[in-house]
């Protein structure tokens, strides 16, 4: 039998019972729809998180003081003040794989501007920090090497700080007092929004590292050193370079543990995505089960259909249909049911992903591969679950089938 006629015959017998065909497809529609929606939303939220994390900075390595994992008696992470400005200088002078090196000295302080005041984080950094951390200056200027050398009392403030201290005004050129030390606001940062961990990246004040260290801080504690590697593939090499340089600077004997730790972005990304990944996997497997149930629904209906249409099968066999023709006809019917169901399911799933996504503020990623896989999968489900009933139909004996009441 020709393909066109096979498909025509299959379509005709499906249309003879439109309600039942529709209900059968419903299982497939729900199954495929939920898989598509969940995967789209899962990938979307993962992309959101990755976007947030890469907004941290490109090829970022963060050196933190801390005991190593293997030490005998260990202080807590960051409990030892092992990083200093000398370390920063070493890295900056001798590093070959670094695009930028910047210390981070943190002081939580009360800021006063005229009659307003606000509590924020003041960060002492190098001029490269802007580039390392992907910050941008919205208005005014960032400070340079000269300001760092002279411990200048200049500051660049984040959007949140600007909003709290200078509502409706241009803060550039204004004066603020940080722990009673007067600073000149030379610029305002562009907004960066929330970090992956949920903190406000705009509630920040950046000032020259030396100014913060010596005028506001204790004069020695560098909280962390931010390093950006020249490229992503140099991340590992840059990491070992940091280790070598800092071990030399700290005069650590071979075998002695590192007294610092290096965290990189991938580590942070992995941490954040593993959570959503697990969720997606969990929900997808639930959706997968519903797909399976949809497939079993198809098998069920096809079995009923074969019994109900025994006489029809008998007629077909009597006028010369080969067992294979009957087998193929029922397989095609099952495949049509599941492919149509799958197609409607894909549309439903995309609609749901879009609707839920905009409702929850999550982006949904539509992966074309996903759709191809869904289509193939539904066809396979149709053929797999259609095979047993089809086989049953094709094994009927013409006389028995014709006699069937």
């Amino acid at each position: 039998m020709k393909w066109q006629s096979l498909i025509k015959v299959a379509l005709m017998s499906l249309l003879r019972n439109p309600m039942r065909s529709l209900l059968t497809m419903l299982g497939m529609i729900i199954g495929v729809g939920s898989v598509i929606a969940l995967v789209a939303l899962g990938e979307g939220s993962q992309k959101d998180i990755q976007g947030q994390i890469s907004s941290l900075g490109t090829n970022l390595l963060i050196v933190m003081p801390g005991s190593s994992q293997m030490g005998g008696v260990r202080g807590g992470s960051g409990s030892l003040g092992t990083l200093s400005m000398a370390d920063v200088e070493t890295l900056r002078k001798n590093g070959r794989l670094f695009r930028g090196v910047s210390p981070e000295i943190r002081v939580q302080a009360q800021i006063i501007a005229g009659a307003s005041n606000w509590n924020s984080m003041v960060m002492g950094v190098a001029p490269e920090y802007l580039d390392i951390r992907n910050y941008q200056v919205a208005s005014g200027n960032f400070f340079g090497e000269r300001e760092v050398k002279s411990r200048a009392k200049v500051a660049v403030i984040g959007q949140t700080v600007a909003r709290e201290l200078f509502p409706g005004e241009d803060p550039v050129g204004a004066r603020i007092r940080i722990r009673n030390v007067p600073f000149l606001v030379t610029g305002v940062l562009s907004s960066k929004g929330q970090s992956a961990m949920g903190s406000d990246q705009d509630d920040i004040i950046l000032a020259p590292s030396t100014s913060v260290l010596y005028r506001l801080g204790d004069g020695k504690t560098v909280r962390s050193i931010n390093v950006s590697a020249v490229s992503e593939k140099d991340m590992e090499a840059a990491k070992s370079e940091i280790i070598t340089l800092l071990r030399g600077q700290h005069r650590l004997a071979p075998g002695e543990d590192d007294d610092f730790r290096i965290r990189d972005q991938t580590e942070i990304i992995q941490m954040a995505t593993s959570v959503t990944g697990t969720m997606t996997l969990l929900l997808s497997s639930v959706a997968g089960v519903s797909l399976l149930v949809g497939g079993i629904g198809i098998m069920n209906i096809m079995l009923v259909s074969v019994t109900e249409r025994t006489r029809e099968i008998g007629i077909r066999l009597a006028i010369g249909a080969r067992p294979l023709d009957v087998l193929v006809q029922f397989l095609i019917e099952a495949a049509i049911l599941s492919i149509f169901g799958g197609a409607v399911g894909i549309l439903t799933g995309l609609g749901t992903a879009w609707g839920l996504g905009s409702l929850l503020g999550v982006s949904s990623v539509i992966n074309p591969l996903m759709i191809v896989v869904a289509v193939l999968f539904t066809a396979v489900v149709g053929v797999f679950f259609g095979f047993y009933p089809a086989r049953k139909a094709s094994n009927l004996h013409p006389i028995d089938a014709l006699r069937y009441e």
Binding site: E312, I315, R316, P398
Partner: protein, 248 residues
């Protein structure tokens, strides 16, 4: 003597039920020549349908040989039998056996869709011609439930004719019809036979049997009587003028 289009020798068919064995055919032999029109008669249970099903390649004999148009049928597998049914045999059933919710045209076209050798070029056209031939040229788009019993049987005959088979087998084709529509069918059969088609028709009605040229009577799975019809009836003559027009 013309060559035998059907030759069966020592045909035995035994049905095994749970504890009894039913011997439906007990070594029956029969030859039917090309172009012949044969009635098969016999009381209920004498084995007529069993014989027809074997002749129609719908069933296997328990033993015995069957030569159809030169082909030894015993020993063919299911797929090959399907091919024979499609190409060489047109079967007409007592209960019409049309596909419901399917138009007359599609019903008649159906066997051509299963013809792997595509012997007939344009299935739709051939189906249409077959329906015109049985006088249903105006009823192409009608579904079985919109047709009378006689019309349904004529659709079934068109379906049997459309593949240009070697032989038409009809098992009590008029069993479900009133006398007037029976005449229509008999007239059609005589016309088809006059065009050269071999016909085997089962009936338990002696009046119906007399429209054939030869009557074979079965009893208990064997041939009891096999003789030519002397006072053969001409169905066309008994038809009302309108129906006659339809058939010519």
């Amino acid at each position: 003597m013309k060559d035998g289009i059907i030759e069966v020798r020592d045909l035995v068919k035994t049905f095994s039920l749970e504890d009894v064995q039913v011997h439906a055919l007990k070594g029956l032999s029969l030859t039917i020549r090309r172009g012949e029109y044969v009635s098969i008669m016999g009381t209920s249970g004498s084995g007529k349908s069993t014989l027809m099903n074997i002749l129609g390649c719908l069933d296997h004999p328990t033993s015995g040989t069957y030569l159809l148009d030169g082909t030894a049928v015993s020993g063919l597998n299911r797929t090959q039998l399907a091919g024979i049914r499609n190409e060489k045999i047109g079967f007409v059933f007592q209960g019409f056996n049309l596909l419901s919710r399917t138009t007359a045209l599609e019903n008649v076209e159906l066997p051509l869709l299963y013809d792997r050798r595509h012997r007939i070029g344009n299935p739709k056209k051939a189906a249409e011609e077959a329906l015109v031939r049985v006088g249903l040229g105006e009823r192409l788009k009608h579904e079985p439930n919109q047709l009378s019993g006689g019309q349904q049987q004529r659709v079934a005959i068109a379906r049997a004719l459309v593949t240009q088979p070697s032989i038409i087998l009809a098992d009590e084709p008029t069993g479900n019809l009133d006398s007037r529509t029976t005449q229509e069918i008999l007239a059609l059969f005589q016309k088809v036979n006059a065009d050269g088609m071999t016909l085997v028709m089962v009936t338990h009605d002696p009046d119906v049997a007399r429209y054939a040229e030869r009557i074979v009577e079965l009893r208990d799975g064997l041939v009891l009587r096999d003789e030519a019809v002397i006072d053969r009836c001409k169905a066309v003559l008994e038809l009302p003028p309108a129906a006659k027009e339809n058939l010519s």
